[in-house]
């Protein structure tokens, strides 16, 4: 089960709704992923008002929970206003909080993020902050009242997987009661499995599925990986060892005492 504040969800996979080759493939990929939660953004409506409505009806057909984001916001002020618009638009207190520092790397602005998270939590929001693997920032977000923290694996859309495994492991150890979701940078199902094996509660994916040659099949592959990773974590992985240890019994090995 994935816990987001007071609500629980079956799937440990959260999926984005952008970059698919067609609306139909988006819907099929979301279904194949088994995700209960999909991320959406907010943008200015265009002439005639058809763009938002057309997309929104596709999402409603899926019967999934919507997690709006503040993608594109560069200041805490823009992010908090966008969150307020999201609450109005989607009637949810949940917000994936992004405050971006750098357009090239989409590196989060950690200072603006903590500032915005603090204000939004006070205003009754359930904040899911997109951050780096930095423990200090994660702890500040938790102090501000965040019950979920979403560190990146690597930059958004880079498909590089987990680049700082030790830091993600440390976050898990130091924040045992917080829901941790790896958000951004995963490129392959094995990356997602690794995050779940580390004890992460979930992964948030978009580009790796939407930009696959067959997004629907890839969504299914990520579902299998997430389920496998979670099952492995719950089963208790053995730790690594420095030396070999034979798996077949030593006692009774044929010719062991043979005299030459």
């Amino acid at each position: 089960m994935l816990k987001l504040y007071d609500q629980t969800f079956n799937s440990h996979l959260l999926i984005g709704t952008a970059l698919y080759p067609s609306p139909r493939i988006m819907q099929d990929a979301i279904r194949a992923s088994g995700a209960d939660i999909v991320t959406v953004s907010l943008r200015r409506e265009t002439a005639g008002g058809k763009t938002g409505d057309a997309f929104w009806s596709l999402i409603r057909e899926l019967g999934v929970t919507v997690l709006p984001n503040t993608a594109g916001c560069r200041t805490a002020r823009d992010a908090t206003t966008t969150a307020e618009l999201a609450r109005e638009l989607f009637a949810t207190p949940r917000i994936k909080l992004e405050v971006i520092a750098d357009d090239e790397t989409l590196q989060p602005d950690l200072i603006g993020l903590v500032e915005a998270a603090t204000a939004l939590i006070k205003d009754g929001f359930e904040v899911l902050p997109y951050t780096t693997e930095d423990l200090g920032t994660a702890m500040r977000l938790v102090e501000a009242g965040c019950r979920v923290v979403m560190p990146w694996a690597s930059p958004i859309g880079s498909a590089r997987g987990i680049t700082n495994r030790a830091a993600l492991k440390l976050l898990r150890q130091r924040l045992p009661d917080i829901t941790l979701i790896v958000d951004a940078g995963l490129g392959a199902p094995s990356h997602a499995a690794e995050a779940l094996e580390l004890g992460y509660d979930g992964v948030l994916l978009n580009t790796a599925i939407a930009k696959a040659a067959d997004p629907v099949a890839m969504a299914g592959a990520f579902k299998l990986a997430v389920d496998a990773g979670r099952a492995a974590y719950e089963a208790g992985l053995m730790g690594p060892r420095d030396f070999a240890s034979p798996s077949s019994p030593v006692v009774g090995t044929p010719f062991w005492h043979a005299v030459s």
Partner: protein
């Protein structure tokens, strides 16, 4: 009067959000509105008076990650 609607200047006689939305053919759509960066709940779209130079953001759901 002139309103700044989604970043563009617009000459209009609309002094209420509901009237402006009808003028833009946005009525009945899934939208959220901010006037001068303050969110105006749907229930108040008929009450809030728009003034010359106001900045209106008309926002709808879109694909996102």
């Amino acid at each position: 009067m002139v309103l700044i609607v989604n970043g563009e200047r617009r000459e209009t006689g609309a002094t209420r959000i509901g009237v402006l939305l009808a003028e833009l053919e946005f009525a009945g759509k899934q939208l959220a509105i901010a006037v001068n960066r303050g969110v105006v709940p749907r229930a108040r779209w008929g009450d809030v008076e728009l003034r010359d130079g106001d900045m209106i953001e008309i926002i709808s759901p879109r694909q996102g990650g």
